[in-house]
């Protein structure tokens, strides 16, 4: 089988303007992957399937990964002008100071596809796509038109992660019920308040349960669904 770089080159040769990026996997199995640009992903996927040398006709696994917003603190050298008293004289001095800046790296949702070839009996080739963010730009092209096996798996990602797959023939919730609102596989999903969450019905739990009951009776409404995950 071709190496990941060769595949990348082949894709770029075949699909002009395709944004492909190699993602290196440091683990011993070295299953490196290709990150596709969502805009050209469908064309790339068609190429991967139809190219006689690659012939990746079998989409084995599709899954979503949630990368939440991360708070990154980094040291930045900042140049600034400070009013300083040097030798009794006030001066404007330029100096560089280390400043710890916190910024929020926007998270994203990712869809990962594992491809194999039944004809050529090789694989896996891993491709992945990222959404713009986790809230409003959660759309990706559906690869179900290329590989039918994505149908239920993409539906599952839609259900549990909330990635909207454009071009999917039947994008409905698959595992949760239809009027369920949250996406429970996201890492910031909060469970509905359930007083018996704790494993065993110990005294502490029972006390918690009683507190919960008291709160419910006191008219604290809407407690059941306090954990909307959005």
């Amino acid at each position: 089988m071709k190496t990941i770089e060769e595949i990348k080159a082949a894709i770029e040769a075949a699909v002009p303007g395709a944004g492909v990026e190699v993602v290196v996997n440091p683990s011993p199995c070295a299953q490196h992957s290709l990150r596709l640009d969502p805009d050209s992903a469908l064309a790339v996927a068609r190429f991967l399937r139809d190219d006689p040398e690659l012939a990746l006709d079998f989409l084995s696994n599709v899954t979503g990964v949630d990368w939440p917003d991360r708070e990154i603190s980094e040291k930045v050298k900042v140049a600034r002008t400070v009013a300083k008293t040097v030798d009794g004289v006030e001066q404007q001095v330029e100096e560089t100071v280390d400043e710890i800046r916190k910024r929020v790296e926007p998270g994203c949702l990712e869809a990962v596809y594992h491809l194999y070839s039944v004809v050529r009996k090789h694989g896996p080739v891993v491709i992945r796509m990222r959404t713009g963010n986790r809230t409003d730009r959660v759309e990706l092209p559906s690869l179900t038109p290329v590989w039918r096996s994505g149908e239920f798996q993409e539906r599952e990602i839609f259900d549990l992660f909330g990635i909207v797959f454009n071009g999917h023939p039947d994008l409905r919730r698959i595992l949760m019920w239809d009027n369920f609102k949250d996406h429970p596989m996201r890492r910031d999903y909060v469970e509905p308040d359930d007083y018996e969450y704790e494993p065993t019905a110990h005294d502490a739990v029972l006390a918690k349960a009683q507190a919960h009951r008291a709160a419910a009776q006191a008219g604290a409404k809407g407690q059941e669904g306090a954990g909307a995950a959005q």
Binding site: P199, T200, A201, H202
Partner: protein
Amino acid sequence: MFGEGILKGLAETAKNFFGSYVSADRLTTVEYPEKRLEPIEAARVFPFLVYDGGDWQAGLRCVACQICEKECPPKCIYIEKSKDKKPDAVGKMQFYPTRFDIDVSVCMSCQICVEVCPFDAIKMDKLFELATDDRFGGLILDRGMLAKSNQYFHGIHPTEAAEVDARLTAERAKSAAKAGAPAAKDAGRPQPPPPGEK
């Protein structure tokens, strides 16, 4: 093709029907409450706590290290560690659990608590007849219900119990020889490697 398949099938069931009167292979029923299957030594159902000697409160091997509580996948173990130390079976001062509950209505019988226990204190029982109509009273086993003697352990898992005993005696002998006087000092430290990690 003109009905032989059907006749062959009928012959097969007839063979089993008549065979059930003559051959044990064709009548495999074990009439449960009266007769039981041959016990399988490795069988595991729910955990129990092993104690040495005659008094379960004194002889409990558990030192409330709470590893099993942390490692338990469904989190069905609940332990409260004692504030003070008590002498264990060989006289070392140890912490002990003031409370050790297992909710068998949650336990998944995975045996991970046994694997991670450095003290051979928790083992798997074979008792499965726990059906009850009492949801909260019958299914949360406390220390007293969990504690079972080493003899009982020998009774249900003879091979494993013999291994454990041999290992424990060796270790105790070693630590007694090595330490001599300050035996109580390193009592709380887990010494033997967990059996699953050898």
